[in-house]
C-alpha cells in the first residue's frame, strides 16, 4: 500500500468548497499545499470555521477535495474509490476526537480492539492490552467505558487510534473536552506514544500551550494555510 514518497502526507493546491444551497458556497480550504515528513508532529491552529476539521477529514480520506490532490504515503487518495480509501485508513491513519467517541456498550479493551475487529485482525487483541498497559489502564480493560473519567476516556481513544500502528495520527482537539491537568497528561501521552510508535501526528488545537508542544504549527485563516515556525519558536496562534 505504501508508496515511495518521503512524505507521509502531501496536499497539493487543495481546495474544498461546500454547497450551502441557494447558490451560496462555503470555501473551507483555499489552495492549500503542504507536506509532512515522517515522525513529525504538527499542530493546526485557527479560528472556528477556518477549515481545521476539513483539513483533517481530507488527510484521513474521509472527504475529498474539489480541486488539487491529497497524497498519503505517495498515493493520490483522490483517485481511490471509497472502499480503497477506507482500507487505507484502516492501516495508515489513526483518528482521535474531541468527544472521544467510545462505544458505551463495549468494555475498555473492546473499544480499543474495535479497529482490529473491523479489519478482521484478531491478533491485535493482545496489542490492545499492551497499549492499555502503556497508558496505565490495563487494570480497567474489562470495565465499561461509561465508568471512566474524561481523561481516561481520551487515553482509551488514543490507544484505539494507535492499535493498527498507523503512520499518520490525526487528532481533532484531543484535549478540548478535558480539564487542564488531564489535557497536559493526554497531550504528553499522545506525543510520547506517537514518537515511540514512529508515527506522524497532526492535531488541531485552540491552545497555544498545546500547539507549542508540536514540531511545527500550521495556521489556518479562512481556509488558507500559513505554515509557520517550528514549535521551538512558538508564536501565538491566531484565534486561540
Amino acid at each position: 500500500m505504501k508508496g515511495h514518497s518521503p512524505y507521509v502526507l502531501e496536499l497539493k493546491a487543495v481546495s474544498r468548497t461546500y454547497d450551502l444551497g441557494g447558490g451560496r458556497t462555503l470555501r473551507a480550504l483555499d489552495d492549500v499545499s503542504c507536506r509532512v515528513e515522517a515522525g513529525r508532529s504538527i499542530a493546526v491552529v485557527g479560528r472556528s470555521g477556518s477549515g481545521k476539521s476539513t483539513l483533517l477529514h481530507l488527510a484521513a480520506g474521509i472527504d475529498l477535495p474539489n480541486t488539487g490532490s491529497v497524497h498519503l504515503h505517495g498515493r493520490d487518495i483522490s483517485q481511490l474509490s471509497d472502499s480503497e480509501r477506507t482500507r487505507l485508513r484502516r492501516t495508515e491513519v489513526g483518528l482521535v476526537f474531541q468527544f472521544f467517541h467510545l462505544l458505551p456498550g463495549l468494555s475498555v479493551q473492546d473499544n480499543v480492539s474495535l479497529p482490529g475487529w473491523i479489519a478482521g485482525r484478531s491478533q491485535l487483541q493482545s496489542r490492545a492490552l499492551e497499549l492499555l498497559e502503556t497508558v496505565g489502564l490495563s487494570d480497567r480493560a474489562g470495565q465499561s467505558v461509561e465508568k471512566l473519567s474524561g481523561g481516561e476516556m481520551q487515553r482509551v481513544a488514543i490507544c484505539r487510534a494507535l492499535l493498527a500502528g498507523p503512520r499518520l495520527l490525526l487528532a481533532d482537539e484531543p484535549t478540548g473536552n478535558l480539564d487542564d491537568e488531564n489535557a497536559d497528561l493526554v497531550m504528553n501521552l499522545l506525543l510520547d506514544l506517537t514518537r515511540r510508535e514512529g508515527s506522524t501526528l497532526i492535531y488541531v488545537t485552540h491552545s497555544d500551550e498545546m500547539a507549542a508542544l508540536a514540531d511545527e504549527v500550521w495556521h489556518l485563516h479562512s481556509g488558507r494555510l500559513d505554515i509557520a515556525s517550528p514549535a521551538t519558536d512558538p508564536r501565538p496562534a491566531s484565534g486561540a
Partner: protein, 849 residues
C-alpha cells in the same frame, strides 16, 4: 401553539419520511386486520338478516319448528288466534343445482294467493320483471320459480329457461318464471333466494303437509308478547314462536365463538401496531427532547406539549386509518369466499352474497386506529412532558432509563404471569372469557421480559469482532428501542406459533377421531345434504338398490334432525344400530362404549357429544330434555363421546327411539360395509350405473377423510391471513426500529467508517442486528406461542367450542415458520442497513455518540 403544531407536523414528515411511512403502515395494517374481520363478521350475520327481511318482511312474529318441519294443520290455529291479522305459511328448502352441486338455491314456498311479505304483485302481467307475473302461471306451470336477476345473469338464465335441482335423491326440473329483485327489497338478501308456490315446493322439493315457518302480522294495538305466549301455548312444544329479530340473535349466538375468536386474533395485529407507534413516538421524542425543553422554557405548559405530541400521533393514526380501511376491505373481499363456505358448511347459515360495509365500520376503524396510536404514544409523551425543561435541554438517554428498570419490569411481568397461573386454577371454568383475559395478560407480560432477555443475551455474547456478536451486543446499547421491536415481534410470533400449534393439534386430534369413527367402506348421501336438512332424504327405492348390491355386507342408516335442546339447535342422529358390535366405535369421554351401545339399542337413552355436554353441563347419569310431539321428555345420557362434527353439539339415539319420539321419517345418510377384498371404487361405479341420474354423493372411506380435512383447512384459512398480517406489522416494526437505531447512531456509524469499516461491513452489521432482533423475538415468541397455544387449547377452546384437543405440533412446521420469520426480518433490515451503510464518516463531528 396550533400554528406551531402544523409547522411541526410538516417538519416531522419532511425529516423522517421512512419512519413516518412505517408508522402509518403499522397502524394501517392493524386497522386493516380489524376492518376485514369486522366486515366479514358483520356480513356473516347480515346475509342471514337479509334473508329474514326478504322472506318475512315486517312480520311481527314468526312460528318456526323447534325440531322437524311441523304439520300444516297448525296453520288454522295460528290464523284463528286472537290478535293475528295475517298468517303467511312458508316452506323453505335448500336445493343443489345439478350442474354445480355445491351451489344451493334457497327456495321459499309461499302461498301466492295470500298477501305475503315478499315483493309479490299478483296483478302484474306475465311480462313484468318486478313481480311474479300472472299467478295462474305460477300455480299451473310445474316447477315455476322466481329467481333474482343477479343469479339469472350469473347462470345465463332468461324467463322460460329450465334448470335441474336436486333435493335429497330427487332431481327436479324448475322453470324460471319470473325475475324478482329481492335485493332491491332487502339489500342484504342473497342472490340465491328463489320463490315458488308453496304446494309446488312441498310436493316437488320437500314434503306435502309440512311447514317450516308461519309469519304472523298482528292487528294494530295488540301486544306482541301476549300473542306470542298464547300461540306458544296453543301450538305446543314442537314449534317456537319468536320475533324475526330474536332469530337473528339466535344466529349471532350460533356464530359468537367463531366471530369472537376472529375478532380477538385481529386485535393482536392492532396490538403489535401499537408497539410500533410506541417505538416511533419514543424515537421522535428522543430526537426532539431539546425542542420540547425549549417550548417548555418559552412558557408552553405540560398539557400544551402533551396535546401537541398526542395531536401529532392522532394525525398519524388518522392517515393510518385512511390507508388501513381500503386494505381491510380488500382483504375482506379476498376472503369472503372462505368465510362464506364456513358459514354455509359448518353453521348452515346463508352465504355472503355481496359485501356491505356498514357505516360503523368506518367509525370502528377510526376509533381503533387513532385510539391505538394515541394509546401507544401516551406513555412516552407523558414521560417526556413530566420532565422539567432543564432536564430536557441537557443530554439525555432514554436507554439508560430502561437499563435501570429492566429487572423491575421483568419482575413485574413475572408476577403478572404468576397471578394469571394462580387464577387459572380458580376461575378457569367459572368465567367464559377467562382465557381471553389470561391471553391479554400474557401479551402484556411478554414485552416486560424483553429488556432483561436482551441484556442477558448481550452479556453472554463474547466480543469477537465486527460481526454478529457485535450486532447482538449493540441491541443492548439501545435497549428501549430494540426491546419494543423485539416485544412486538414476539407478540406476532406468539400468535403465529400459538395458532399454528392449535391448528396442528386440532388437525391431529381430528385425524385420530376420523380414524376411530370413519369405518365404513362407502358413505352415501345426497348432493343437497349439507344444507338440505330433513328434506335431503334418500327415497326407499334408492335404499332398496343399495341394499340389493351383492358386495354390500352390511348397511347402516342415519336419520338426522335438527332439534332445540336447552335453547340451542343441535343435530340428533337416529342410527339403525344393526351392525355387529365390532363395527361400532364410539371414542368415549365419559361412560363405557359397549355398555352405552347396548343401552341405546335397548332403551330410549342417548349418547351426547362433548361440546353438548360442556355447554349444557350434562354428563352420564343426567337426562337430556327433548321436545317431542308428546311434550318435553327426558332421556338418560349413557355416554359422552368425543365428536368434532359440530361445535353446536350432537346427540345419538337409535333409529327406533327417533321414530318413537318424532314418528317415522326418511333417512339422509347411509354407510355401506363391503364384503372382504371388494374394491370400493368399483362398487361406487356399479351403484352409479344402477341409479342413473339420481343426485347422490358417493364417498369412499379415503375420500371422506380428504373431504373432512378440506373443510377443516378452509375454516382456518382466514386465521392464516390474520397471522400473516400480524407478521407484516412486526416486520414493519423491525424496519422502523433499525431506521430509528440508524438515525440515533449516526455518529457511531461514522466512527466505524472513520476506523476503516467498509459500507458493506456496516450493511452486514445492521442486517445482523435485524437478525438478532428476530432471533430474540423468536425465542420470546416461541415461549409465548406455547403458552398461547395452551390457553387456546385448554381454556378458550373448551369454553367456546367444547372440544378436547390433544396437543400436537410439527417441528418441521415450527422450523419452517422460524425460517420465514428470520427471512422476513432480514428483508425488513435491508433498507435500514442500506441507509446506515451510507452514513459518511464526516458525521462524526456530532457529539452525541
Amino acid at each position: 401553539m396550533l400554528r406551531y403544531f402544523f409547522l411541526s407536523l410538516r417538519t416531522q414528515f419532511s425529516r423522517g419520511r421512512s419512519l413516518f411511512v412505517l408508522s402509518v403502515l403499522g397502524v394501517a395494517l392493524g386497522v386493516a386486520s380489524v376492518v376485514s374481520i369486522q366486515v366479514l363478521n358483520d356480513n356473516s350475520l347480515a346475509a342471514f338478516r337479509g334473508g329474514i327481511r326478504a322472506i318475512s318482511g315486517d312480520a311481527d312474529l314468526t312460528v318456526v319448528g323447534a325440531g322437524p318441519a311441523f304439520s300444516d294443520s297448525l296453520y288454522p290455529t295460528v290464523l284463528g288466534t286472537r290478535g293475528v291479522e295475517l298468517a303467511i305459511p312458508l316452506y323453505q328448502v335448500a336445493v343443489s343445482l345439478a350442474d354445480d352441486p355445491e351451489t344451493y338455491l334457497e327456495v321459499v314456498g309461499v302461498d301466492l294467493l295470500a298477501p305475503t311479505g315478499l315483493p309479490v304483485n299478483p296483478t302484474s302481467t306475465p311480462g313484468d320483471d318486478d313481480g311474479f307475473g300472472a299467478v295462474s302461471e305460477a300455480l299451473s306451470v310445474p316447477g315455476w320459480v322466481a329467481v333474482t336477476p343477479a343469479l339469472a345473469e350469473d347462470r345465463g338464465w332468461s324467463r322460460g329457461d329450465t334448470f335441474v335441482v336436486s333435493s335429497g335423491s330427487r332431481s327436479v326440473r324448475l322453470q324460471v318464471g319470473a325475475l324478482v329483485d329481492f335485493q332491491s327489497y332487502a339489500p342484504l338478501a342473497s342472490r340465491y333466494l328463489a320463490v315458488m308456490d308453496i304446494s309446488q315446493a312441498q310436493a316437488l322439493l320437500g314434503r306435502p303437509g309440512k311447514l317450516q315457518q308461519i309469519d304472523v302480522h298482528l292487528a294494530e294495538g295488540v301486544n306482541p308478547e301476549d300473542v306470542r305466549e298464547t300461540l306458544q301455548d296453543e301450538l305446543g312444544p314442537m314449534v317456537r314462536v319468536t320475533t324475526p329479530s330474536s332469530r337473528t340473535d339466535d344466529a349471532a349466538n350460533l356464530l359468537s365463538a367463531f366471530r369472537l375468536n376472529l375478532t380477538a386474533l385481529s386485535m393482536i395485529s392492532l396490538f403489535v401496531g401499537m408497539f410500533l407507534i410506541f417505538s416511533s413516538t419514543q424515537a421522535s421524542l428522543v430526537r426532539r427532547r431539546r425542542e420540547i425543553g425549549l417550548l417548555r422554557s418559552l412558557g408552553a405548559t405540560r398539557l400544551q406539549v402533551l396535546a401537541w405530541l398526542i395531536g401529532e400521533v392522532a394525525w398519524l393514526g388518522l392517515i393510518g386509518v385512511a390507508v388501513g380501511i381500503p386494505i381491510g376491505l380488500f382483504a375482506a373481499t379476498q376472503n369472503v369466499e372462505v368465510v362464506s363456505a364456513t358459514l354455509t358448511n359448518i353453521y348452515l347459515l346463508s352465504a355472503i352474497d355481496s359485501l356491505r360495509i356498514p357505516a360503523q365500520t368506518y367509525l370502528l376503524a377510526a376509533f381503533v386506529g387513532i385510539g391505538g396510536a394515541v394509546l401507544g404514544a401516551l406513555f412516552p409523551a407523558w414521560d417526556s412532558t413530566r420532565k422539567d425543561p432543564r432536564a430536557l435541554l441537557s443530554a439525555f438517554s432514554v436507554h439508560e432509563g430502561t437499563q435501570g428498570v429492566a429487572g423491575r419490569l421483568a419482575l413485574a411481568g413475572g408476577i403478572l404471569i404468576g397471578l394469571a397461573l394462580l387464577a387459572t386454577f380458580f376461575f378457569r371454568e367459572s368465567w367464559r372469557y377467562f382465557g381471553f383475559a389470561v391471553g391479554l395478560v400474557l401479551l402484556i407480560a411478554l414485552p416486560m421480559m424483553t429488556p432483561v432477555l436482551v441484556q442477558a443475551v448481550s452479556r453472554i455474547t463474547p466480543a469477537a469482532g465486527f460481526n454478529f456478536s457485535l450486532a447482538i451486543r449493540n441491541l443492548s446499547a439501545r435497549l428501549q428501542t430494540t426491546s419494543i421491536s423485539i416485544a412486538s415481534l414476539a407478540i406476532a410470533v406468539s400468535m403465529m406459533i400459538g395458532v399454528t400449534l392449535l391448528i396442528s393439534s386440532f388437525r391431529s386430534t381430528l385425524a385420530t377421531w376420523v380414524d376411530d369413527t370413519i369405518r365404513a367402506d362407502i358413505y352415501i348421501t345426497t348432493e343437497s345434504w349439507v344444507r338440505g336438512g330433513e328434506d335431503a332424504f334418500l327415497t326407499e327405492d334408492v335404499l332398496a338398490t343399495l341394499r340389493g348390491h351383492g358386495d354390500v355386507a352390511a348397511i347402516e342408516t342415519l336419520r338426522r334432525l335438527s332439534l332445540e335442546i336447552e335453547g340451542r339447535p343441535i343435530w340428533v342422529g337416529g342410527v339403525s344400530l344393526t351392525l355387529p358390535d365390532s363395527l361400532y366405535s364410539f371414542p368415549m369421554r365419559e361412560g363405557n362404549a359397549r355398555a352405552a351401545l347396548e343401552s341405546i339399542r335397548a332403551s330410549d337413552s342417548c349418547l351426547i357429544s362433548e361440546p353438548l355436554s360442556r355447554k349444557t353441563k350434562l354428563g352420564v347419569g343426567d337426562s337430556l330434555q327433548v321436545r317431542t310431539p308428546r311434550g318435553l321428555e327426558r332421556y338418560p345420557i349413557v355416554g359422552v363421546t368425543y365428536d368434532y362434527s359440530s361445535d353446536g353439539g350432537t346427540a345419538l339415539v337409535s333409529e327406533a327411539t327417533m321414530s318413537r319420539l318424532f314418528g317415522e321419517g326418511p333417512v339422509q345418510n347411509v354407510a355401506l360395509f363391503l364384503a372382504p377384498e371388494t374394491d370400493p371404487d368399483e362398487v361406487i361405479g356399479e351403484l352409479r350405473a344402477a341409479l342413473p341420474g339420481v343426485p347422490l354423493s358417493y364417498r369412499s372411506n379415503r375420500h371422506i377423510r380428504e373431504e373432512v380435512f378440506r373443510i377443516f383447512d378452509q375454516t382456518f384459512a382466514i386465521t392464516r391471513l390474520l397471522q400473516g398480517m400480524a407478521l407484516l406489522v412486526a416486520a414493519c416494526g423491525i424496519s422502523l426500529t433499525l431506521l430509528v437505531v440508524a438515525r440515533e447512531r449516526v455518529a457511531e456509524l461514522a466512527l466505524y467508517r472513520s476506523l476503516g469499516a467498509l459500507r458493506r461491513q456496516i450493511f452486514g452489521l445492521f442486517v445482523g442486528e435485524g437478525l438478532g432482533l428476530a432471533l430474540l423475538g423468536l425465542v420470546l415468541g416461541t415461549v409465548g406461542g406455547f403458552a398461547l397455544a395452551g390457553i387456546l387449547v385448554y381454556i378458550i377452546n373448551p369454553a367456546f367450542f367444547g372440544w378436547t384437543i390433544r396437543p400436537d405440533g410439527s417441528w418441521a412446521e415450527w422450523a419452517q415458520q422460524c425460517l420465514t420469520i428470520l427471512a422476513v426480518a432480514v428483508l425488513a433490515s435491508l433498507y435500514p442497513a442500506l441507509k446506515a451503510s451510507r452514513v459518511p464518516a464526516q458525521e462524526l463531528t456530532r457529539e452525541d455518540l
